[in-house]
């Protein structure tokens, strides 16, 4: 059952995303107040932002468990989630900047959602850098960072919120046309599926790398393998 998980999930996710794209571009109406076509970016941009937040927690919780139990499987999950956070964060920031250029005329503005995403993204990039260049104890180090990052999320949210910004009203979803809501939900579902899919695959890769390293070390220790 487990072996079939990834291919089946991949097919399902592809279908859902295809449906979502069709819904977004052919069925959902154009928002006629001020955003027009630009609003269509939200169907992908917002789910990616959810995924960024989710990834920070999916990274932080296993990191805390790893620190407590030293089970390397938790560390695999944390590392994979952090990489995903970097990717989804980049997507959020990139699409947000393109949207911003169309809507405000500038590539960047220090407004609430963009700034929060930027801060979280920077922390996760720090995680990846520490993992890469941290030497021997890098997994512990990055796990500590991830725990602090998880605690930091509400602090970042509230500090940026009360910095006084303008952003299209937060309740975009509830005032939507039903076909828009469907597009939004489909795309959210698709991205959750994609997140899980990539996470599972990446965790398997990390595990493979670790198992390989262990086997090599055992072989070297036993004198069987040459370095």
């Amino acid at each position: 059952m487990k072996r079939a998980l990834v291919p089946v999930l991949a097919v399902v996710v592809a279908l859902v995303l295809a449906l979502a794209v069709r819904q977004v571009f052919f069925i959902a109406p154009i928002e006629a107040n001020q955003l027009y076509w630009n609003q269509k970016i939200f169907y992908f941009h917002v789910p990616c932002a959810f995924m960024l937040f989710a990834a920070v927690f999916v990274c932080g919780v296993p990191a805390a468990l790893f620190l407590k139990t030293r089970d390397p499987r938790y560390d695999d999950v944390a590392a994979a989630a952090a990489e995903l956070a970097v990717v989804f964060g980049a997507i959020v920031l990139g699409s947000g900047m393109i949207w911003g250029k169309a809507a405000w005329g500038v590539w960047w503005q220090w407004e609430m959602r963009l700034t929060t995403s930027l801060l979280l993204w920077l922390i996760m990039v720090g995680y990846v850098l520490v993992r890469r260049f941290g030497g021997a104890g890098a997994d512990r180090l990055s796990a500590g960072l991830a725990v602090f990052a998880m605690v930091d999320v509400p602090l970042v949210y509230f500090s940026v919120k009360y910095w006084n910004f303008l952003h299209p009203k937060a309740e975009v979803v509830s005032t939507l046309d039903p076909s828009m809501k469907l597009a939004f939900r489909l795309s959210a579902l698709g991205f959750i599926g994609l997140f899980v899919l990539v996470l599972v695959t990446r965790v398997a890769q990390h595990r493979g790398v670790r198992a390989l390293r262990d086997v090599r070390e055992r072989g070297l220790d036993a004198g069987i393998l040459e370095p």
Partner: protein, 247 residues
Amino acid sequence: MRVETLAPSCPADGARRTTASVGFFRLVAAVAGKDVRVELRSREILYTMAFFAVTVAVVFSFAFVRDRKVIAEAVPGIVWGALAFAATLGLGRAFDRERESDTMRALLLSPAPRLAIFLGKALAMTAVIGLVAAVIAPVSIVLYDLDVGRAGGRLLLLVALGVIGLAVVGTVFSAMLLRVRARDVLLPVILYPLLLPLFLAATRGTAALLSPTGSTDEAWFWIQFLVVYDALFIVTALWTFEALVIE
């Protein structure tokens, strides 16, 4: 300093418990005291940090001068930025000393609980960074012609909270990075994104307190925010420190 609360049935246990709790804080004070005394003796880190902070502040001031005065809105940012850079420098250097003389291992091998060591070190770093802030403050009051009188107490509170947050988070991570080769570059990489909400709150609070149009409500909000920030991170640091530093 043994408190006479011995239970009649198990005198030994009672005595151990009370000495342990009193001993903990004595250990914290001992570690903190040692660090501060070592630092005050040579004053190397203190002088270099303070001078670095002032230099950075001056460099940034040149960027924001208009009509021979520094733009008032830029001042909190300049001051806290300078403090941040100096703190990173000092944190790296403080633990360098531990590593060079290999006292960290000795400290960790001692029967003192890790928590006490962490709290002692964090306290010492707070004192050092606080001293640097005490140097920057009059310098910036003079350089930027700041009018502090009205809001002096609250400003002091704000700066104290900011320094505590800086010191606690910085201590955790620079202790973790003790034996890492790339520590000089990784410490800022790790520290600054985590500390951004602290800097945001500190600069906004400072701006609210110093500007004639700033509202005291805003200042109090940011002070409370810093209290929450410091509390959350102190708790997190206490939870994770044991697991993170095992040299």
